[in-house]
Amino acid sequence: MNPVLKLLLESGGLSTAEMAQVLNLSEAEVNRHLDQLRKDGVLLGWRPVLNIPEEDGAVRAVIEVRLTPERGGGFNRLAERISRFDEVESCYLMSGGYDLLVFVSGSSLQKVAAFVSEKLSTLEGVLSTATHFLLRTYKEQGFLMDTRAEDNERLKVSP
């Protein structure tokens, strides 16, 4: 695996200058690696992972979507079209009882509901939707929300 990519996965918080130090590369070389990863479509972008109080955060929902497959393209055309909506955070093709699992977010329950009823379910080819609102987050993209438990005191010097 690309050493820069490996380091990113291992400790995402490092600056490019720090990454350069760790990998014994110049900062320019690290940036070149990052550019290449972007060009190759491997590195898509950056996002902070936040723990925002529930009342301030966005309303999020997961939606199970059933689709009519199309000749030639299967589910791809519709899935890609759905993915383009700003409200959609993630979109996955699934095996099992439904076809797409769509994560959406909006500033209020009404807005998310309106997106589902007006935009999503009215699309030609969408057979049905089942919307589940997220109530509480315990872990997000590898990070625990309750960080207090992890605050362990270690001895400063030990044999």
Binding site: E10, S11, V22, N24, K156, V157, S158, P159
Partner: protein, 389 residues
Amino acid sequence: MDTTRYIARHVVDLPRSGIRDFFEIVSKMQDVISLGIGEPDFDTPWHIREAAIYALEKGKTHYTSNLGLIELRRSIHRYLERHFGISYRPEDEILVTVGVSEALDIAFRALVNPGDKVMFHQPCYVSYHPSITLTHGKAVPVPTFAKDNFALTAEALEKAWEPGCKLLVLNLPCNPTGGTCTRAQLEAIAKFAIEKDLLVLSDEIYAELTFDGEHVSIASLPGMKDRTIFLHGFSKAFAMTGWRIGYACGPAALVEAMMKVHQYSMMCASIISQEAAIEALERGSDGMKAMRDQYHRRRDFIVRRLNEIGLKCHVPRGSFYAFPSVEVTGMNEKDFAVGLLKAERVAMVPGSAFGANGAGFCRACFATSYEHLIEAANRIERYVSKLKA
């Protein structure tokens, strides 16, 4: 009332650990980046912790067999066959202990008569010398040198040997030097042990944390299994220091002798830790390898930086310790460590805490985050360049 007069003489004479002295200074300071910690920065992988919780829920709250849970001894048997190429019978050649610490203690107590001589390489783990003293044995340190990357050589052993030597303690990879031996070097040590009729106590607690080349256990060499007590544990490789669990393996008669001491002093290791240990051995190898890979990259970084700074440092083949020389600074290791701590708030342990011939070196543990390592290296650089100026 003077209560000190009640203390046994050999305990009065026992020196305090140099680590302890240094710890007292560090613990009074704020915002210290510590490279002085001899343990993984990772918490124990969750699946291992979960196995312990499950064990508690299932009512695993009782004493176990003195030797340890048979399921754990079977796991240890399989693990050692697979990864170390040594086969110990679960029934009578494996003893589960409260860390390698207890295994060392009961080994010395079971084996050392007053006056018996025990060889060990130095710089070394802080407890060897005092443990030997506590059993009224005589410590015979054997120096290892930076020029050999702190590998133990048969020549050094020959030179240090004296009549009456009975045991040889090995710790490869070594705390604090990170030194290891190649197979050839180990074969020479084995030959020496056979020639001098020594029993070997091999503390291989850092075995899994070998970054370059293979880890060879001396017990796996021809003729050595019968004269080796193999000590290992979970603290380092599986990030389980707080669980206090380890084991000793060896010829049944010797395990039986150690078990006698163990049964009267400890009874058995904590059952919860034993259950967790089974999980670690059976399903912990991916997590262990991920941690090892991280230590490996951190080692490459810190060793390179220390050498750039001028603190000459060999590449430790194993463990999570770098052992740089502070010679360029013109200071001794204690003044350097205390000066660095006060000026830049970085803690490294003075090498002399690990024996007299650790003088001139400091131990830097790299089991800490890149952010800390980068910042620590920058601070050390600043301190050293001020000294040079």
